[in-house]
Assembly symmetry: D2
Homo-oligomer: 339 residues x 4
């Protein structure tokens, strides 16, 4: 941590700050500059945001952190990439590109079974589908809840595809975990710390979506919540951030892939459906994501988007998904992944 | 809802869209334009986001909503302003400007009692203090939990000030409600719909903070979650939105005050502490908020910011708070409010 | 400047960086941390962005600037506030609140004269009006150009109000300067450095608008372009920044007022019309700005907004402006300013 | 254009709006809704932003445009893709992927010649280099100006590579055009309409960069400025937009590629160097951009980034560029392009 003193701060003020740094368990190291002094507080500052309060001391201009605040998520602590076992024989984070696909919401037996068979035949390896739906409006369809989970389980039985589905209430963690192979945390819950802590105590992979205004550093801090409770099977998912641009639902931050790759060992999945909001934009964003080096994709597919209970405009039809997957295989190969 | 057809869309495509509109229970009304046709779907579209799925039909370019999606929060449904009774004899939304103040976190008996007395003597009418703290880092202080609530209750007993405190987990709603006079929903939980629904079933005021990437329309939809469950005592709180600017912690969207005033009847509170992140910026933002017509303020005050467990840099010292309040009274008077 | 070394950087890499720092004319000062080393480069770094290139050296993680990059605009160099003389007897930056008002575009003799008289009678002290209009569309009205300037001069003659008008092309600086009392730089030209340099060589006040994605630091660097050419009469104008919120045209960053006040000695004006985009939101934003401590306002007023060639929806009618000014005088008084 | 009336607007207000619509040359078409009425104004609204002023009429809630405001840039007007001839025999917009590379600034004869040879040998087809540099700070290196242009011309002579370089002042258009093969408009000048109009009168390709807060619609309106003056050789360049994320210099909006592809016929180039700000992130963003279907790339390459006068941290070394190009060729092939 670097403490920048104000121009003209007094000796006494400097001494007080040094004293306080020592009390907090750090060594201080003053650099006398031409215009102002700065103090280096030497020690492991991670998790000690209390140092930030030094900004309230007389003579202090601001406090600049040097170390990243996460540990377990960091490549400095674990340099080699993590592969997460989804179910025995299926891993993410290695050479295989994992494609998760399915409808936004589970709506009916026929819908989920038809979709599951279609995506499997196109080469997807995980089925997605929402049973608990966080919706902006209280008047919108809120999901089939446990009935939806049962339909997902039925689709798994018939196709062999593991399932990923969202949990939104800490109360439902146990229920959802009885059905899901991967527990999904949605963008709106990326800082629902009560939920993250409970998921950290599970023995199941967690797909953690970045929030729409979450910095990469905050995103890794949310992963840290899960990791620090003991669950090391965290999969990160970029799904678009909120910007001023309205041509797309969100702005897919594809450079998050190499940034995360440098900072963390965790596997990285991209959701081009929520990022763009328009089915016609999804295939090219799948290709781009794989070329940029992601480990997996999560894509919305619906047999009849024009009647979908949610997110119709961004859902691919099965035939469109198949066409996309064919091309994707070629890009994956150049990127050193197999589909 | 307006459905914009593509240039060159066929008659059959138009007919299909009209048929689907009818199936969904609306009347369609076509305007034949020079370059493209548009269809007006007449009917109450609020809460029927399913119309959005028409975008997936052949020949449709996009779908433009006309009505606002909220009802109970809307001025169209309830034109007169709502006053929320905090405790008997203390209302927000009327002529009185309500100032809530206190530390970010409850840290100790001495800290909370000292602060409560100081803010009361300066003219504040509600005590704030966090017992459950949603923190970005799992290694940061997470709050005193029920012990913190007990200290808040003790401070209420000694000063007579009602208390506002945050609840973060639906599981804790009942516990927090046993102590709090106002239940606070933090910015990170503005779309924690499970939490909102539970608060909607309480008989207690809720202070709902806007999220840092929440549009005003989404904010009112979150209020609608609470209102539609039966609890009409919702207080809105703007606390800064996330932008590219880093000189302040967030950007206080002060124009949200008149925008909300036009669209909703609910009372509006401003949090200049989280918005700016720097104590020196807080007083002028208090003055600006009152001049813009807010109904209340929520301000962080700490007797010793340099040792605060959280948010030290943005906390006013009691003497600074007192000075601010003196000036605030003058602005409030011009704004037609009494402190 | 602080150079943060990577964890595990070698001694040789550290030595190379120290050598390069010395070559660039700074002294280096190493702090050996527990996890990584940091180097303080001591010397006046302002304007020496070349230090940033050290990030390309092996072993360097990143480079953190400590000093602000502007000098002449800074309060550290000039602590006392600057008052800018607009015309003899009229100053901005002192005790008087300066209100500039008028139409977005000059459209006709009648329009500008009628507006000038109305705003004068309501208490405004400067007339605004655009003759060169930067418009998003090449098919929109582009302004009356020199004819518009002549009409502004006529309005000045009849009312005694000095005029502020925009210049968009360096080629036109001389022409506009023949008519204008204050040269306005629009938001789109805040980093049109060729234009800024020419204005820096004039002997006339410049009203510099912040761009819609300009940080406060970049804004002050743009002011520095004008100041460093010799023209010290720079007036800063905040006019809303671009965010994700669409309820307003831009988001008025009212906290920029106290932030700028801390960092610079230059006077600060607020433009609530472009910030909000809706006339109904303008009065409360005027009140808020004055309460927050601004030195002036620039407000769009049009006698017939429904026929305005540009920006009709955000223009006040003369009667609305008058009503606003009456209330504004009360807020100004509390803020220690006279209208 | 759709005019949405307020709930409860009177018959007279409706009649007035219809009258005004007629005066402006449109036909009006009323849809009587359950809660409010809307009016369709039928006619070609493009370029007629004056309709927006209807928002100021009594009874009008807001005005919603239906048509896109650009014409010449639009796929509706010209469905087939445009190929722009850079120099005889070299086209962008067809099957060939065009890679432009070189230093941010031209610094010396040796630097530019060494770079030009290196990028040519790696397969680049256009040399980039800045002679007029728009820099945030007046104290930073501002470019070698005409001397830099001469060095670029020398490099062209020796390598046969055409050159792209930026023009920042309308005054210099003629000068820069004497040397450049492609005239570059930087992000800060995307709405410098005086500059755009002059470039519209040239017979030379223009590389137009998107601004950091420019929507895609505004970006195409800026292209429209050039096109409407007669120059049809416009190349669009996405270079990152400004968001809240600070891990990258800007956020590369890679979904702009398919969005632009749907809306315009103009060729699309990506600048991953300015978008990311870090050399290590550039190669994966090149791969992603090509996979997403761009027509070209513009990449910063410097022989010694650690001593670069500008943008060192984001410049690839020649060997890194060569490695990137080798991999890029494979991705380009899958994308149906040849390098």
């Amino acid at each position: 941590m670097i403490i920048v003193m104000r121009k003209g701060a007094s000796k006494e003020e400097l001494a007080e700050v040094k004293k306080r740094i020592k009390e907090l368990g750090y060594k201080s190291h003053v650099i006398h500059g031409e215009i102002r002094n700065v103090i280096g507080a030497v020690g492991d500052e991670r998790g000690k945001s209390i140092l930030q309060s030094l900004e309230s001391m007389p003579g202090v201009e601001n406090v600049v952190p040097i170390l990243k605040p996460y540990k377990l998520a960091s490549r400095e602590v674990k340099p080699e990439p993590t592969t997460v076992t989804i179910v025995p024989g299926l891993e993410i984070g290695g050479n295989r590109l994992i494609v998760m696909a399915g409808p936004c919401s589970v709506e009916s037996e026929q819908q989920i079974l038809e979709t599951a068979r279609a995506i499997k035949s196109a080469g997807a390896t995980v089925l997605r589908g929402g049973a608990f739906k966080p919706r902006t409006s209280p008047y919108s369809f809120q999901g089939m809840e446990e009935d939806g989970l049962k339909l997902l389980a039925m689709a798994r039985e018939q196709t062999g595809l593991p399932i990923v589905t969202e949990v939104v209430n800490p109360r439902d963690v146990e229920l959802v975990a009885r059905y899901a192979d991967i527990m999904q945390v949605g963008a709106r819950n990326v800082q629902n710390f009560a939920l993250l802590k409970m998921l950290g105590q599970l023995d199941k992979p967690v797909l953690l979506k970045r929030g729409m205004a979450t910095t990469i550093q905050e995103f890794l801090m949310s992963a840290e919540y899960i990791l620090s409770e003991g669950n090391r099977r965290v999969i990160l998912c970029e799904r678009g951030i909120r910007t001023f641009e309205t041509a797309t639902r969100n702005t897919l931050d594809i450079s998050a892939i190499p940034v995360l790759r440098e900072q963390t060992h965790l596997p990285i999945v991209i959701d081009p459906s929520h990022a763009t909001g328009h089915a016609s934009l999804v295939p090219s964003m799948c290709f781009a994501s794989v070329a940029a080096g992601c480990d997996g994709l999560i894509v919305e597919v619906h047999p009849h988007p024009e009647t979908a209970a949610s997110d119709g405009p961004q859902s691919l039809r099965p035939a469109e998904f198949q066409t996309m997957m064919n091309k994707l295989a070629e890009f994956a190969k150049v990127a050193g992944k197999e589909l």
